[in-house]
């Protein structure tokens, strides 16, 4: 079964809370994001993390530009992400077995 964008999906997620750093006058997170619903997923050289939600905003159906804007709001000092990654599945399995 393939994942169809736009359809509801249930996944194992991890909550991540990041406080932005101050670099000069700006608040930055300190990493880069890639992809977006308008991007070609087959060119993704990493496939580690996918972000589902940023500060409550849904990110499963956003373009690259929208994602970047949601993460770089000047007024927000803290970013709360819901992130999913493949290795979470292994972690869940291991904890279910034990």
């Amino acid at each position: 079964m393939s994942y169809i964008p736009g359809q509801p999906v249930t996944a194992v997620v991890q909550r991540v809370e990041i406080h932005k750093l101050r670099q000069g006058e700006n608040l930055i997170l300190g990493f880069s994001i890639g992809g977006g619903i308008d991007q070609d997923p087959s060119q993704n050289p990493f496939s580690e993390d996918k972000t589902d939600k940023v500060n409550g905003w849904d990110m499963t159906m956003v373009t690259h530009d929208q994602a970047r804007k949601r993460l770089t709001k000047r007024s927000e000092e803290v970013v709360r992400l819901l992130v999913t990654r493949q290795s979470l599945q292994k972690a869940v399995q291991q904890s279910m077995l034990s």
């Binding site: 994942y3 999906v9 996944a11 990493f31 880069s32 308008d38 530009d65």
Partner: protein, 550 residues
């Protein structure tokens, strides 16, 4: 001075050995002898080794040996004192419960230790200055037992110090105190100044940056000797690395949980210390405890249990009291073969047990009843033991179990899993710890399947069918979306060159390109983006994969 130190050292060793002998405590004596030999070996190795990594490992072994010797000596002194004062064990009594009930022992295991670091953001991003490196390890002590983790090299590219070790302490009581100590040593770059003549060294160190100069001077001043050993166990004054205590904390039963928890660390060193590391101030770990009453049977024997609903029909079973259950097996062998028991009675903090005659048990002496509350219902099982002595020993076992449960608290709710620590792997090759990003160099024309292979190998074999949401991570392009069914072009061969050249893999310590704060670092693309409407009806299949710093 050196000679005097040697004499003191020999005298101390003699004293330690004599004390061990006089107590005739063969176990502790054997351990002490072993540590003393290890210590001598470590001293010799430290004097002989030339490589920095060897020196770090040898100094660490020396510190651990010293700590163990001191702890065993402390234990010996305690036992000697107890012997002299004439304290004996509990008097055996024929009747009545023992005056003091002691809780059962248990196994305590600490694993998945992680200590977050907090680098100053200016240092992290500008990547200026030398790459300072530190060697750190944890010393864990419970009672007189001391264990250590592996040594890890830390530098600015790490956000946390993660230890792979699983450390297990057997024979712990519920009142245990697990002391955790983090030791660190500054690792100077090659050509360190410890060997250089003093005058040159001072001149050089004053011309280095302020903070690195301070470190060098501090390490020169304090050459030789391991971190916390007092004059009692002097070490040869070799110009080797020196470990300092960076932080410590003590964990008790309250911290035990079958999951990860974060605890506060007490920081023990300040910025002037040469080995100072910017610690965030907490340590995450999984601290699990398995009391013996949960993993081993505490009583077993023949019982007769009243069948539900049948007043006169009592079945003979083999009862085994283990953990929070009384298992009643049809035959004694079933307990070992893993057969299902005929009946399982729960025993927990809420269970009530009564001994004595009951009106239903006319003509059946030596019974005890166990009652549990399930919601509004109370379920009572009545069991008959073989004799008065058997009844007493079952009651005693049950009282001991209730006592253990009250002492071990949350550890008796469910058995916490403890993995037997694997034998320590030899110290890893001391290459800089890299992330996945360092490992992959991706050409635009590479087969993306090769990347997936690398990732799959790292993840390990799947145990069962992957759940549906993992399909998000496959390399298959998404199914054509419903809003443009027929006109979607087939997925283009993605071997075309990308407009801005090779996609860069950002690694953790890369210098981010200089850019104005809000500008993107990707080249401008032909305007392909559809207006921001719901749905994905962009013109044709997307051909790009953008990355931006945030």
């Amino acid at each position: 001075m050196q000679d005097r130190l040697h004499i003191l050292e020999d005298l101390n060793m003699l004293y330690i050995r004599q004390m061990a002998l006089s107590l005739e405590d063969t176990e502790l004596q054997r351990k002490l002898d072993h540590e003393i030999r290890m210590r001598e070996g470590a001293c010799k190795l430290l004097a002989a080794c030339s490589q920095r990594e060897q020196a770090l490992e040898a100094t660490k072994s020396l510190l651990v040996c010293n700590s163990r010797i001191l702890s065993y000596m402390g234990e010996l002194q305690r036992r000697k004192e107890a012997q002299v004062l004439g304290k004996t064990g509990r008097r055996p009594s024929d009747s009545g419960p023992p005056a003091e009930r002691s809780p059962c022992r248990g196994r305590v295991c600490i694993s998945d230790l992680r200590i977050p670091l907090m680098w100053k953001d200016t240092e992290y991003f500008k990547n200026k200055g030398d790459l300072h490196r530190w060697a750190v390890f944890l010393l864990l002590q419970l009672g007189e037992h001391i264990q250590d983790t592996e040594m890890i090299l830390v530098d600015r590219t790490l956000t946390d110090i993660s230890f792979q070790s699983n450390v297990l302490f057997a024979e712990a009581g519920p009142d245990f105190e697990l002391r955790l100590e983090l030791y660190g040593a500054c690792v100077e770059e090659e050509g360190a100044l410890t060997g250089a003549p003093k005058r040159l060294a001072t001149k050089l160190s004053s011309s280095l940056g302020r903070s690195s100069g301070r470190r060098v001077r501090a390490s020169l001043d304090s050459a030789g000797g391991s971190g916390s050993s007092p004059i009692l166990l002097p070490t040869p004054a070799v110009g080797g690395p020196r470990y300092h205590l960076l932080a410590h904390t003590t964990l008790t039963l309250a911290a035990v949980q079958d999951g990860f928890r974060t605890h506060d660390l007490t920081l023990a060193s300040h910025e002037e210390n040469p080995a100072w590391l910017p610690l965030y101030g907490s340590v995450c770990c999984r601290l699990a405890a398995q009391p013996l009453c949960m993993t081993q049977p505490t009583a077993s024997g023949t019982l007769r249990v009243q069948q539900a609903g049948e007043m006169q029909n009592w079945a003979q079973v083999h009862g085994v009291l283990k953990g929070t259950n009384l298992f009643c097996y049809r035959r004694p062998e079933d307990a070992d073969t893993g057969e299902e028991p005929l009946l399982t009675i729960a025993i927990n903090k809420e269970t009530r047990v009564r001994a004595g005659e009951l009106d239903q048990a006319v003509g059946r002496p030596f019974t005890l009843s166990i009652s549990n509350q399930y919601g509004d219902d109370e379920v009572t099982h009545t069991l008959q033991t073989e004799s008065r002595e058997a009844l007493q020993s079952w009651m005693e076992a049950l009282w001991q179990l209730f006592f253990d449960m009250s002492q071990w608290k949350q550890c008796c709710d469910e058995i916490m899993k403890i993995e037997t620590p694997a034998s320590r792997k030899p110290p890893q090759a001391l290459a800089k710890q890299g992330s996945l990003y360092h490992e992959m160099a991706i050409e635009p024309l590479d087969d993306i399947a090769a990347v997936t292979d690398i990732l799959t190998q790292r993840e390990g074999a799947r145990l069962e069918t992957p759940p549906p949401w993992l399909a998000m991570f496959t390399d298959q392009p998404a199914l054509p979306n419903p809003c443009s069914p027929a006109s979607v072009a087939p997925a283009p061969a993605w071997t075309h060159t990308l407009p801005w050249g090779r996609p860069r893999t950002f690694s953790l310590d890369a210098v981010p390109p200089d850019h104005s704060p809000r500008a993107r670092s990707v080249a401008p693309l032909p305007p392909q983006r559809s207006p921001r409407t719901r749905g994905l009806c962009s013109k044709g299949q997307p051909r790009t994969w953008l990355q931006s710093p945030v």
